[in-house]
Symmetry: C2
Subunit: 556 residues, 2 copies
């Protein structure tokens, strides 16, 4: 979907013939909702999803990342989310050329994929696709994961855990007062996680004792030994639940699984074959990160693909996909180990003073709030991330992190807008010019000097096609007085592109944006990547630094 | 559209063959946006419309009704608004039966309408429709207005004014800094109103000197003497504008008109033929009320039609349409006279100290803010409005006015909701039970007594089918502690129907709702009509009054 929006010719292959109707991944973290909104799809997601505000069995806000634009978890079944993207096909067979020259040529098609499709009459249709790149993202079926990584010759590092879990979706018949909140029920006999979902349903994750699902002869996990009724049985007898949650319409979906905490040794081969999502990292679903990690992998890669395929940047920028996203997966697995272990331990009681207390859960949950919400994800220094030049100029914007949401008002018509909505994932670099206050003569001079330098022949704006950049100016000023024509024409390509740090006419939306971001009186110039991540923060007289930054990777 | 949503069989006839592509009515006041939202259409209207926040040539918030949920004027051409409702046909000929028995029989079809439609081959197709009722709403063409009222034998009261105006839509080529705000330009040589619109356009209303458009031989207005170029000429030479607003893409739409300030002597005949909108009231378009008045006429009538046609209420409730909406039109015309006169007078200058000052305009604008936004509309006492029983029980809710917007949180899952979204125009009466604080034993007792009385055989809930009522409970309480099961089952038909007067988990939405509405500690019971207007406010022990109220008009 992301690549299609970028105008890239995409061929999607999937083992499944139809969309997923129930179950599967469903937790959508606040950052993923922000990303959907950047593609213009956040409203629909918010409309269709079940909003989860409260979490844990002692009520507390479910999201503890203060800057989240959408401070809620959303729950929506994977099929509904897939409806917001693509239809599906099936696949087998990948050949990658060994010719170094062909591999290095951005215009070549060195990947050969052989697709097999079962036709309704029972015969198999073969199709050979020649591609510039292939991205493997699947993960549901172990054999597919294996196939994707084998085809790419990529090993998995890490190990399977001994934690076995069952999971099911149902409409509960209950009078438990917190059934519409996210609940962790942690008892002496086991733990259980409840997450409310759309259509009156809840999802229950249940810890299974090994004996329940292991074949006594082989000692191995045997999924055929389980049924959803047995899962509920485990819940009722093993876990002392403060609720009565019988299904009213049967079980909508269920499965069981062994948690693996593993990560692919590499994420790509020759910058031609890539893997993303469950194909390259597995972990427990407790923290609700699986689908979100996958989507953010693709979000990170999509614009880079588009730049390379359009000839706007060299293939080498694709290496940053692995450096940025493999680090994230490592952090995720480290977090998952802490979290899954807490889950599997017994609770603190008079008899077991070393058990896990609710306070420990809450503290862990809150400590990692920025991470689990997806908000605190931070990319390290690379050819695409320049965080070294002025690290403390803007104290609450961090190079390598996304731009936090903030309401500002349009100078020309006083309409309030969230700054994130000025950063759509449209594959342009966003240039945010925080001018400071035009009533200060020194700021006017600085802005004039900035415009002059941006108009020089060596300016990136003149060296690279203008279509790759989008300029928004954010000024200090009062909406009742400010004249947007004070902003030089170069910095206001349209009347709607001058924003003010002021409240809207109702006085309830916006205001104090400079303070929120920590923009100094002398202003700042902030460069944001097409995927919404800040890559550079410089003073208004630092445009030479931007020229160097873009010269580092952008084809002119 | 409103009737269709109510499940009423509707036949729409229109002289026009296609939707309006440009121009015509376009100003949507805050109350009309609230009404659209009650039909589930507010989001689309807000997405497609141009939002106007600032007004008058000295910047000031455009809307001065503090309780408006949407404190903006929206501008969107009539065709786009019509897309949100129906296709169109054509009409001629109405016959109304003279048989008193047939007229009084709610199941009879005493109206005969003959429709003529021009077929593409040039012949005329005749169709005779027998209807229970006919509603005439058109007003653009004087002959249609005349036809509608003649067919119904209804006279217009009031008079044509001598104010002649031109109006046009265009994309201006200008550097006027306030071009995206609503501007009143009032000069010694005339006045002019600018309103920003969608697609970069603005609308300009221009005062024309009589001589420009009158035939010198007859002394009568001759529209053929005008062209949009002449209108702009008037603007440029006669009005000393602080802007240069040449059209960049030609004139998108224009017209000229004489302002009439007139009102139909009656709004209906035999409760069978009704007129609404421009068919029954004409006034200047300056205050942007035309389309809004029409829509609110229909909104007032729709649910009453539905009740009568379904047999839920006697035909007599239709009489309240005229008593409620004709009073509104009278108020509108009184306002319009003040406003249009201000417009036509010269501004105050050194030479003309008796002229109109900007302060006078601002003051008039603000004084009538509640009225022009549609928020302050107030219906008088009738069989449907019972304002006499406890007039001061809830100090900031007014019987006869709409329920003001306020964010509350759902007790079960902490999702914030606007109370207006619990009052959809779905043709149910809404019963809002403000319980007070359940931690007060006296409140628990009162609620138990209320439930007991509502369960009695003589209770309206038992006498009338339950499908006509929708119950929402609003309690005082803390979202971290409140158990929604405290609310008796009768008052919570679903877990989502218990709201708390508390902020959401972010602490930014909601809170202080009891204080905002002025609900006393002892609680209150508020009855809201299907169109969102409050009809009764009583104490929790006053359910006998509600039985009387519904017995006054509702068929059991």
């Amino acid at each position: 979907m992301l690549l299609s929006l970028a105008g890239v010719n995409v061929h999607v292959v999937d083992k499944r013939e139809t969309k997923v109707a129930t179950g599967q991944a469903d937790g959508i973290t606040p950052r993923t909702t922000e990303v959907f909104q950047n593609y213009g799809l956040g409203d629909r997601l918010l409309r269709e999803g079940c909003r989860v505000h409260m979490a844990l069995s002692r009520r507390a806000p479910g999201i503890t990342a203060p800057s989240a634009r959408y401070p809620i978890d959303l729950a929506l079944h994977q099929g509904a989310i897939e409806s917001i993207s693509l239809d599906s096909l099936r696949t087998r067979g990948v050949e990658l050329s060994n010719d170094a020259a062909e591999l290095a040529d951005p215009t070549a098609y060195p990947v050969e994929v052989t697709l097999e499709r079962l036709i309704p009459n029972g015969t198999i249709h073969h199709e050979v696709v020649h591609a510039k790149s292939v991205l493997g993202v699947d993960g549901k079926w172990p054999e597919i994961r294996l196939w994707v990584r084998n085809a790419f010759d990529i090993a998995m590092e890490g190990e399977q855990t001994e934690f076995i879990r069952g999971v099911l979706d149902m409409v509960p018949d209950t009078d438990f007062p917190d059934i519409r909140n996210k609940n962790l029920i942690h008892s002496n006999n086991g733990s259980c996680l409840l997450v409310p979902r759309e259509a009156e349903r809840i999802r229950i994750y249940i810890q299974i004792a090994d004996a329940d699902v292991c074949d006594p002869k082989t000692g191995r996990v045997d999924k055929d030994r389980m049924s959803p009724e047995q899962l509920l049985e485990v819940r009722s007898t093993e876990v002392s639940l403060p609720l009565f949650a019988n299904p009213t319409n049967g079980i909508n979906w269920w499965t069981s699984y062994i948690i693996g905490q593993r990560i692919a040794a590499k994420y790509s081969a020759n910058n031609r074959l890539f893997i993303a999502g469950d194909a390259c990292h597995t972990h427990s679903p407790k923290a609700g990160q699986g689908m979100n990690a996958s989507m953010n992998d693709s979000h990170n890669l999509a614009w880079k693909f588009a730049y390379v395929l359009r000839g706007w940047a060299p293939m080498s920028i694709l290496s940053t996909y692995e450096s940025e996203r493999r680090k994230y997966a490592q952090d995720l697995i480290a977090f998952d180990k802490i979290y899954a272990t807490l889950f599997s331990r017994k609770p603190v009681t008079k008899e077991n003073l070393k058990g896990v207390s609710h306070e420990q859960f809450l503290k862990t949950y809150q400590t990692f709030g920025g991470f689990t919400s997806g908000i605190g994800v931070h990319d390290d220094q690379s050819v695409l991330i320049n965080g070294n030049t002025y690290p403390t100029l803007v104290c609450n914007m961090v190079v390598g992190e996304r731009v936090a949401p903030q309401d500002l008002v349009c100078a020309a018509d006083s309409t309030p807008y969230n700054l994130q909505d000025f950063l759509p994932s449209d594959f342009r670099f966003k240039l945010l010019v925080f001018t400071g206050d035009f009533n200060e003569p020194i700021q006017t001079q600085k802005i004039q000097a900035l415009v002059k330098s941006l108009e020089q022949p060596e300016s990136f704006l003149n060296k690279c096609p203008r279509e790759r950049f989008d300029i928004t100016t954010i000024s200090r000023g009062n909406k009742l007085e400010f004249d947007y024509r004070k902003v030089p024409q170069l910095l206001r390509p349209h009347w709607s592109k001058v924003l003010l740090d002021d409240t809207d006419v109702s006085g309830t939306i916006g205001g104090k944006g400079y303070a929120y971001y920590g923009i100094p009186d002398e202003g700042a110039f902030v460069v944001v990547r097409p995927d919404g991540y800040i890559v550079m923060i410089i003073p208004l007289d630092g445009s030479g630094e931007i020229n160097k930054y873009f010269a580092g990777f952008m084809n002119v």
